[in-house]
């Protein structure tokens, strides 16, 4: 089981601090709390649910110790938690919020209105299985539930990336061309509670990267007496929807700019912002997935490589906006593709997970379309083991050889 938490190569490099930086051994949740401090967030609301709430425990500690200066409010439900920061953002405050599992679903009404109000909230989702039965482990269905609503969704797989992505998320969300919320997904336990060495950038560099939030002409203030979200029907709603859609369409370009600036200012390179490729250059087949399952997948791939099996891995970071064309261009190079979903989408095409359906859709316009297998794996926090990864890789190889298989297979399931 220990293989699953072997850090990636990049993480080991993170141990050496540059000038003005310090290095700290922290969890994914703590890394995001540190990002909130560096971003000088104005209003933060907390409500307890595992596993995301570790971020709020750390925020509370930073406030208590005078290391952070924000209005820190403990709400009485997730619904209020998200509404409070939504309204604080409307009057120009930089805000942070978050939740997990059914807590995120309890806030669903507020999650729905936040993008359409063009509120650049940044939230953390500590991914957790949805009830019932109550379970603490990771599944991605919580964050994925808002995938159609205008939330930008990004999955990270280590604490350094969590901190960096939180800063990038503010930069992108608060860009006037976008003004859409962004949720950073961190796998429950595997990332929220797992420590790694993280380079903590200087405040000066963060200030250079992240301008002040400027609500501009949308500011709710007596000096700018506007009416926000008046009631509209068939007369105007379609045009309003189109504006939100156009913002999401602009987001990809803004994300690209932000990563380029991030690299320039902090000296840390993420390559393609939307997905990360691992040992794909000469790969025959690839696995695709999101979040911390990348760790066992990478380890298994290194083992399989020693046996001469050329398997690669593509880790999707940004799920919304979904980089369909780029991803299709990348995936069409391979003989077959296996998509690992740590989620389910019951009754969907081929009874696949959410990511597999998106990948198939993205590949459809391609001239060369490799077979795509869907795998449901690691639900409820079940470990994605090395034998699981090898089994999935073998099935993808079989698909490459033309062997017909079910479109979706559950891996690591007890018989």
């Amino acid at each position: 089981m220990a293989e699953a938490i072997v850090p990636s190569q990049d993480l080991n490099k993170a141990a050496k601090p540059a000038k003005g930086e310090e290095t700290s051994l922290i969890t994914g949740s703590e890394a995001i709390a540190v990002a909130c401090k560096l971003a000088d967030v104005d209003v933060i609301t907390a409500y307890p649910i595992r596993p995301y709430d570790t971020v709020m425990q750390y925020v509370a500690k930073l406030n208590a110790n005078g290391e952070m200066d924000c209005e820190y409010i403990v709400a009485e439900s997730e619904h209020s938690q998200f509404e409070i920061v939504k309204h604080a953002s409307a009057v120009g405050a930089r805000v942070f919020c978050g939740s997990s599992g059914v807590g995120w679903m309890y806030a669903m009404e507020c999650l729905t209105v936040t993008p359409s109000l063009r509120i650049p909230m940044v939230a953390m989702v500590g991914n957790r299985a949805l009830d019932d039965p109550g379970a603490f482990g990771v599944e991605h269905n919580d964050a994925l539930a808002v995938r159609d609503l205008g939330w930008q969704l990004v999955w990270v797989d280590n604490p350094q990336e969590a901190l960096d992505t939180a800063l990038i998320a503010y930069r992108v969300a608060e860009d006037r061309r976008v003004f859409l919320p962004c949720a950073i997904s961190c796998d429950g336990a595997f990332l929220t509670h797992s420590q790694a060495l993280v380079k903590i950038p200087s405040k000066e560099k963060v200030d250079a990267f992240l301008p002040r939030y400027n609500r501009g002409d949308l500011l709710l203030h007596p000096d700018n007496p506007i009416t926000v979200a008046p009631q509209a029907n068939e007369d105007w709603l379609m045009e309003i929807r189109r504006q939100t859609a156009a913002a999401m369409e602009r987001s990809a370009g803004v994300i690209r700019e932000a990563y380029a600036d991030f690299e320039r200012i902090f000296g840390r390179k993420y390559g393609n912002p939307f997905f990360e490729e691992y040992m794909t250059d000469d790969a025959d087949v690839v696995l695709v997935g999101m979040g911390t399952l990348s760790n066992p997948v990478r380890v298994a791939i290194r083992q399989m490589r020693e046996e001469g099996k050329k398997v690669g891995f593509v880790r999707v970071r940004w799920f919304r906006p979904f980089a369909a064309e780029e991803l299709a261009k990348s995936l069409s190079r391979f003989k077959a593709v296996g998509v690992i979903d740590r989620d389910f989408s019951l009754g969907s095409p081929f009874h696949s997970g959410v990511l597999a359906t998106e990948v198939r859709t993205a590949l459809y316009p391609s001239a060369t379309r490799p077979p795509v297998l869907g795998f449901i794996c690691g639900l409820g926090g079940r470990e994605v083991t090395l034998p699981d990864v090898r089994k999935m890789s073998e099935k993808v190889y079989q698909a490459a050889a033309g062997k017909s298989q079910p479109g979706t297979q559950w891996i690591g399931l007890r018989e």
Binding site: D40, V43, I73, S80, E83, I84, H87, G92, W236
Partner: protein
Amino acid sequence: MATSDRELAELTHARAPMKLDMFKGVKKLPLEEFFTSGHRTCQGCESALVMKLMVKAAGPRTIVLGSTGCMYVANTTYYSTSWVVPWMHTQLGSSGSAALGTAAGLKALMRKGKIKDEPINVIAFCGEGGGADMGLAAISATLSHPDYNCLILMYDNESYANTDIQLSGLTPYGAHTTFSPPGKVKRIMHHRWKKNVAAMMAAGHPTCKFVATVCMSYPVHAMNAVRKGLTIGGPTFIHSLDPCPKGWDYDPMQSHELGELAVLTGVWPLYEVENGVLKLIGKTRDIADGRVKRQPVRDYLLRQGRFAHFTDDDFDYFQSKIDEMWNKWVIPGVIPFQKQLDDDKPPA
């Protein structure tokens, strides 16, 4: 550590609330309106009058948050908003959160020097469905935060009037609504007694400095209550009873009179709880002090079509509950506990 309210305010960086003087009479009211043309409320809508006078009392340096309901749908038709002050929609159960979030955002930005530090009124309004049913927990939470200045005003027209007159937790006993229609077998479909919301808020939130009941048949009192709620500091709550021609089924010209009857029959007591001190207002005080005799509730109920199916028994039952409220409650009209009788000792 804080040893007094003032020190607590300093500790929590509370901002100074707006200074607003009390109005001395209806002839002294300002002419300037901040809720103007553009709305499409019904004829005789008292809730529209609440909006108009609420924001007239608050003045131009005010942000208003409106939760879903009549006063959202009828007042902010796209491109014809009736609000002169900044206004924002909030979700049905979110008036408490909207008030808190807006106040917290302003406070953070002022405290950190990101915007000009000045008093800005924050008012969130809700209907009684959004406030006393769905939004009760959020309002309660907000009233427990001493360091944010905001007023939550609940306009109570005693049904979900915007969605077709469905019963709410504040619909009076027995009233005919689309969810409680009198039928051939069951005459009374709604058996619940109206929640006692203002007293609940006052009793349940000891640090909340101001809670009031108002009715727009007594507009100067209502406007002064708004001013007190904004001036006193911290979160405050006002519960307004609003006769509704559509939901209560009466001629729109009678709205004002029905509001008066609600008070004169003792059904709707007017009071304020300011820093923990209860003050009965106007005719309600006269009733409590015995200077004015309560009118029979029949005078009030018979004017409304929603009680047209009532029999004598129903009127008697309603009257008996109101009598109980005035004769037996430990604080008549306000707190529904009854004193333990001397010979009613609990078992040893």
